[in-house]
């Protein structure tokens, strides 16, 4: 099917998924044991007040109605109220979103910018010293979850070396300072994926280099460098794009820890604080926004991958 049709189908599927996500999150409200209102106001609060607040929070209607109401509100930008501070959840989330996005995107960018060249480097001389070194380092970083890496980095750079800042996101209005504060967190977040992408690119490259079309290119006298960096790399790198969608999801998940550890503002810190106070609407809102981000990222990655690998895009139509 053509790219436009595929895009259309994909977008519709994504929208349906978003709706289901919202429904799921909305229905969780009902599963909270106990009465969230009494939790906030205390068990001896005025029953009339409790009833009024419940009504305001939309907890006294049926589940399907509640879900419907939530979805309608969400599309209008209303994600509920943080019933501790009475702030709009949506505004809180949006305020913190940019920090988390910066972190996740830098992590992803780092993973690609460092991981792909490392993988290519390893593939130039498989079995050689460089390859083995990269392999060992890759495996060791993949095995550690990002927050552990973060802790270790703090240990090395802040406790012992006093090189890079580990607290906060930098003084506002000073991009250079922001960058300095971004280094360790972004590295901690991305290290695992650098290793993963390096291994992926390496094995893809090696596989592609033994393929028939690379043999044909050599047979027709095309320069080795061109065969390697153009013919082989293009085919080997395409799958990397496909996993970037997954990557963003994982990185967003890891960002929570990184923000907490490095004391940075962002959705992670927001959620962490909300957990402590059992402030469900915030957790709910954060979850929703993150899920939507992941869905969009996957959509983009999918489409970009299809653009790159036209074989899949049109192969099904050609039937060959």
């Amino acid at each position: 099917m053509s790219l436009a049709r595929y895009l259309g189908r994909r977008v519709i599927t994504a929208l349906v998924v978003v709706l289901i996500v919202m429904a799921f999150l909305a229905s969780l409200d009902r599963l909270i044991p106990g009465n969230p209102v009494t939790y906030v106001f205390g068990p001896h609060a005025n029953p009339a007040l409790i009833k009024e607040v419940r009504h305001q929070m939309g907890l006294d209607v049926s589940v399907p109605q509640q879900i419907y109401q939530y979805i309608v509100n969400a599309f209008q930008g209303n994600l509920g109220i943080n019933f501790v501070t009475n702030q709009s959840v949506a505004s809180l989330v949006m305020e913190n979103l940019k920090y988390t996005l910066v972190l996740a995107v830098s992590g992803l960018g780092l993973a690609v910018l460092v991981g792909v060249p490392l993988g290519v480097l390893a593939a130039t001389k498989p079995g050689g010293l460089v390859d083995r070194a990269i392999g060992i380092v890759s495996i060791s970083v993949i095995t550690l979850p990002p927050f552990v890496v973060g802790l270790l980095l703090i240990l090395i750079f802040a406790v012992h070396l006093h090189m890079l800042p580990v607290i906060g996101a930098g003084a506002p209005g000073q991009p250079a300072d922001d960058l300095k504060h971004l280094v360790l967190p972004a590295v901690a977040l991305s290290l695992g994926w650098i290793g993963y992408i390096a291994r992926l690119v390496r094995s893809n490259m090696l596989e592609v280099l033994t393929s028939n079309y690379v043999r044909t290119a050599h047979a027709l006298g095309i320069r080795r460098r061109k065969v390697f960096f153009q013919y082989a790399l293009k085919n080997a790198a395409a799958p990397v794009v496909a996993i970037l969608g997954v990557g963003l999801g994982t990185l967003l998940g890891g960002a929570i820890f990184i923000e907490v550890i490095f004391d940075r503002p962002g959705l992670g810190t927001l959620a962490y604080d909300a957990i402590a106070s059992r402030n469900f609407p915030i957790v709910q809102g954060t979850s929703l926004v993150i899920a939507v981000l992941v869905i969009v990222a996957n959509l983009l990655a999918d489409v970009t991958y299809r653009l790159l690998d036209t074989r899949i895009q049109l192969g099904q139509a050609a039937g060959t």
């Binding site: 079309y213 047979a219 690998d309 036209t310 074989r311 060959t320």
Partner: protein
Amino acid sequence: MNGNGGPGDVLLGIQGLAVEYQSRGAVLQVLPGVDLTISRGEVVGLVGESGSGKSTLALTVLRLLPANGKIAGGRIILDGTTDIASLDRERLRHTRGEKIAMIFQDPLTSLNPTFKIGHQMTDVQAAHCAHRVGREDRKRFRQRAVALLNQVGLPDPDHVMRCYPHQLSGGMRQRVMTAMALSLEPELLIADEPTSALDVTTEAQIISLLRQLKADRDLTILFVTHDLSIVAQLCDRVVVMYAGQIMEQGDVAEVFERPQHPYTMALLDAVPTRSHRGQPLTAIPGRVPSLFGTITGCRFASRCSYVQDVCREEEPRPVVSGTSEAVRCHMRDQESDYQCAAVPGAAVTKAVPET
């Protein structure tokens, strides 16, 4: 780019070519030492079953062996002057495509799926351009590519140029590969089972295309296949390989009419049209010998209907016999210990060597 001599001259002389593969620590002697000459203007059919070494031989000419394969000895003399086996990388690169070109068995996997045909075809020409490639050059390459696609019988070359390999049919892809291979006007075209992946009708089209190209350009072709009927249609000479050695070679009509080597005889017998209705198809019993380690005696001994003790002990040397230029068989070697009288059957009397 043109050769020194005219038609009839030796274009490719393979002398004592030995090729080894490294497999899990053991060494596989795929080609023990092959001698083969190809003259200008002829179409040589290289036949053999799977594992006979025919593809290895074809790939080795352009040194396209996989990473675990290497040339263990011998020479590949092109045009009487250059030994391909010892060329440095840059000169080898220039030989590939310019002097010798190759087309492969599976055109789908042999073309890069992520680049358009036009891109791949202009790349080939650009790779052999002595100077830096400019816009004018690219334009020239494109025009030439279109012309080539026309010559190989593709009806809408401009459209094909803009296509990706998977958008074309198998036959079209093979034509594209052929066009790519010919874009630098090589003197020798090596075709490694180019029709094995195609259906019979398309196969016939490709064969007739090759015949036409041969006539138009005076192309020398080395055609590797397991299909004897193609050899009969297309080739001037046939070379029969078994277990890495050439068992028999000679003029196609002669060899097919009066095969000298038991293996050739068995191959011809095995062609289905030769069997009679209701009779079981003739198969050659046994298996190809393992190529790990050394083999004593004739490699075909374990499956030969005419085997004698001498066959198992001594390796037969190539001799001229009957109409064959070279047969590796004790039965045909007057100086061997083979007892002709001991073997009953019409086959032997038919092929009594001329004294």
